[in-house]
């Protein structure tokens, strides 16, 4: 298992163009750029609360190593939690997550103890190729959580990261530094129908 430290590392996977960088940028900086998104940082960092103290959430972008499993492996072994992103406008992008999931499974062993979130991004788009129920079915099969997001309209972005932290039962983590899981109840209400945690 990864060492217990002050860092909580989240690794984001997904094919090119599904909006990984947009999601992370939206979450970390609160911005969205329609035209050109520079992938400047390799690792983004955000202070969160964990077990009543402060720790850093590290988000590692893996964009370039897609298709190169042995190199991807180096990122997987570093991660505590995983976000697998596809675009709802591309069936192919969901397909491409399958080998990545298999690899996470192979390296981490028991996935049920590892927080994994399957994310269908670009939920604002109308040219849908992957229905919500297809995403849910896939998540069901993988025994992981599922959510649809839009980095563009900021739909479910913060929720995605908070839910991911909630999935980790070994620690008590929150995006709010004061340590309270504020609004968890109402968020859960809001997420009904959009998010299913299995």
């Amino acid at each position: 298992m990864p060492e217990q430290s002050n860092d909580y590392r989240v690794v984001v996977f997904g094919a090119g163009g599904v909006g990984k960088s947009s999601l992370v940028l939206r979450f970390v900086k609160g911005t969205f750029r329609d035209t050109y998104i520079p992938t400047v940082e390799d690792t983004y960092r955000q202070v969160i609360s964990c077990d009543k103290s402060v720790c850093t959430l590290q988000i590692t972008d893996t964009t370039g190593s897609h298709q190169f499993p042995a190199m991807q492996r180096l990122s997987i072994s570093k991660g505590h939690a995983f976000i697998l992103v596809y675009s709802i406008t591309s069936k192919q992008s969901l397909e491409e997550l399958k080998p990545i999931y298999q690899q996470v499974l192979a390296i981490k062993g028991n996935v049920e103890a590892i927080p994994i979130m399957l994310v269908g991004n670009k939920s604002d788009e109308t040219q849908r190729e992957v229905e919500t129920k297809d995403g849910e079915a896939q998540a069901n099969q993988w025994k992981c959580a599922f959510m649809e997001t839009s980095a563009k309209t900021n739909h479910n972005v913060t929720e995605l990261f908070q839910e991911l932290l909630n999935l980790d039962k070994k620690r008590n983590m929150s995006l709010n530094i004061d340590g309270k899981r504020s609004g968890k109840q109402s968020r859960a209400e809001r997420l009904k129908g959009k998010c299913s945690v299995m």
Binding site: P2, D42, T43, F68, P69, S75
Partner: protein, 433 residues
């Protein structure tokens, strides 16, 4: 150009008052054409602006990368030799600098002295930046060594990541992220170039450097594939020889393999027919290795597969049958005139084609190298032969005898001492069904 000539043409027509009505109609067309033209122009501008953005990102991230590597080398690697820090270094870490940092300093020197300068030289003609990559492809192979070492480095890091030495270094550097994030940078950097090249390509359709960019992209993808493949090599166990003597690793992958031995017992042969073995194959320039994949029992990090060595075929002694009957995912590799046949089934037809192409390339290169040496030998022989004639052919009556001598000379060509041995190309044949 089309638009321009059309416009000048349209202007001429307008000057002629006799053709006013046509001109009016043309003007309408012209307006829509003009809209198109301005749209086209607009698109070109947007593309070049975006291209500049990507070029900027390439340059800025390259500078940042060089700085970060320097930070690590000075703030961590050099500190390991600092006597005032010595008491903080745990025994597990002592004299293991090379394992922890791999060839990072070589990578740093290359980027600092060469690649960054090369890239900067293209600031004024960014459309040609693809060439910069093409010129440095060989140098970028240094990443193979870095990535190969990375798992060892990681396991060392896990043993001592909490030690006071690293904490002290990180504090001095005022780094928010730990050393492990920086040790991953080279892996992230080498995989990032292809993304940037793809972006550049998107905005350079039909431009000057377009072909170079395309070529640079496929070359860098080739490098990544080689790095990825080479990382599997370190997991091979039980191979007695030296892997580095087998030439470059060209392909690796998992297959179902059946074997046939002509001399073997019929029973064994039949059994082998039905039950394939799962084998991980490593194709090198000089040999093909058959390994058995073993999942380690470790937890988490340690759960890396290993490949225990089973069998090796010298590429100078094999032949290939590209299409095995009835299955487009199968091919055959054999040696000793098909006395020993390996039927190999790839997971997909595409993978099979890629392998067959690569094996064919190796065998063809051997054939050419062989022809080369033979040609060389022949020209040498011919020279001595001509000398021989000039000395001996004073009498036309002895002509027959001379040519007979020449024949025996040819027959006495010694076997090639340099690899590849002739048996390889002699057996090289392909069947297409």
């Amino acid at each position: 150009h089309h638009y321009e000539s059309f416009l000048t043409g349209a202007c001429k027509v307008k000057d002629n008052w006799l053709l006013t009505s046509i001109s009016v109609r043309l003007e309408r067309v012209e307006t829509s054409r003009l809209t198109l033209l301005s749209l086209q122009l607009h698109l070109n501008i947007v593309c070049s602006v975006l291209y500049r953005h990507v070029m900027n990102e390439l340059l800025e991230t390259e500078r940042a990368y060089v700085d970060e590597l320097l930070c690590v080398l000075e703030g961590y690697a050099a500190e390991m030799d600092n006597p005032t820090m010595a008491h903080l270094i745990p025994s597990t870490l002592l004299s293991k600098k090379d394992i922890l940092f791999g060839n990072m300093s070589e990578i740093y020197q290359f980027h600092k002295r060469t690649f960054l300068k090369d890239l900067e030289a293209y600031t004024d003609c960014p459309e040609l930046v693809g060439r910069c990559f093409l010129e440095r492809m060989k140098d970028l192979q240094i990443y193979e060594a870095y990535c190969q070492n990375k798992p060892r480095s990681e396991s060392l890091w896990r043993q001592c990541s909490d030690c006071a030495f690293f904490q002290e270094c990180q504090k001095k550097l005022e780094h928010k992220l730990g050393l492990d994030s920086y040790l991953l940078k080279p892996v992230q950097r080498i995989t990032k170039y292809q993304l940037l090249l793809k972006e550049l390509l998107k905005y350079s359709k039909g431009c000057d450097g377009c072909d170079d960019l395309q070529e640079a992209l496929s070359s860098i993808l080739g490098i990544l594939k080689a790095v990825n493949d080479s990382m599997h090599l370190i997991a091979i166990t039980g191979y007695e020889g030296n892997l580095s003597e087998l030439g470059r690793l060209l392909m690796q992958g998992s297959f179902s393999v059946w074997t046939e031995h002509k001399k073997g017992h019929a029973k064994v042969k039949d059994l082998a027919r039905f039950k394939p073995m799962q084998r991980h194959l490593f194709l090198h320039e000089k040999a093909l290795l058959f390994c058995k994949r073993r999942e380690e029992n470790g937890e988490g990090y340690e759960k890396a597969p290993s490949y225990s060595f089973k069998h090796s075929l010298s590429m100078s002694a094999v032949g290939i049958t590209e299409n095995a009957k009835g299955d487009n995912k199968k091919f055959e590799i054999w040696c000793n005139s098909r006395e020993e046949v390996f039927i190999v089934q790839a997971p997909t037809a595409e993978i099979k084609t890629a392998w067959v192409n690569e094996i064919r390339k190796v065998l063809t290169q051997q054939l050419q190298a062989c022809r080369g040496t033979i040609k060389h030998r022949l020209s040498f022989l011919l020279l001595s032969f001509l000398l021989h004639i000039s000395v001996t052919a004073y009498n036309h009556m002895f002509q027959k005898q001379v040519s007979r001598r020449a024949q025996t000379l040819f027959l006495r060509v010694p076997p090639a001492t340099t690899p590849p041995s002739p048996s390889g190309w002699c057996q090289f044949h392909t069947t297409h069904t």
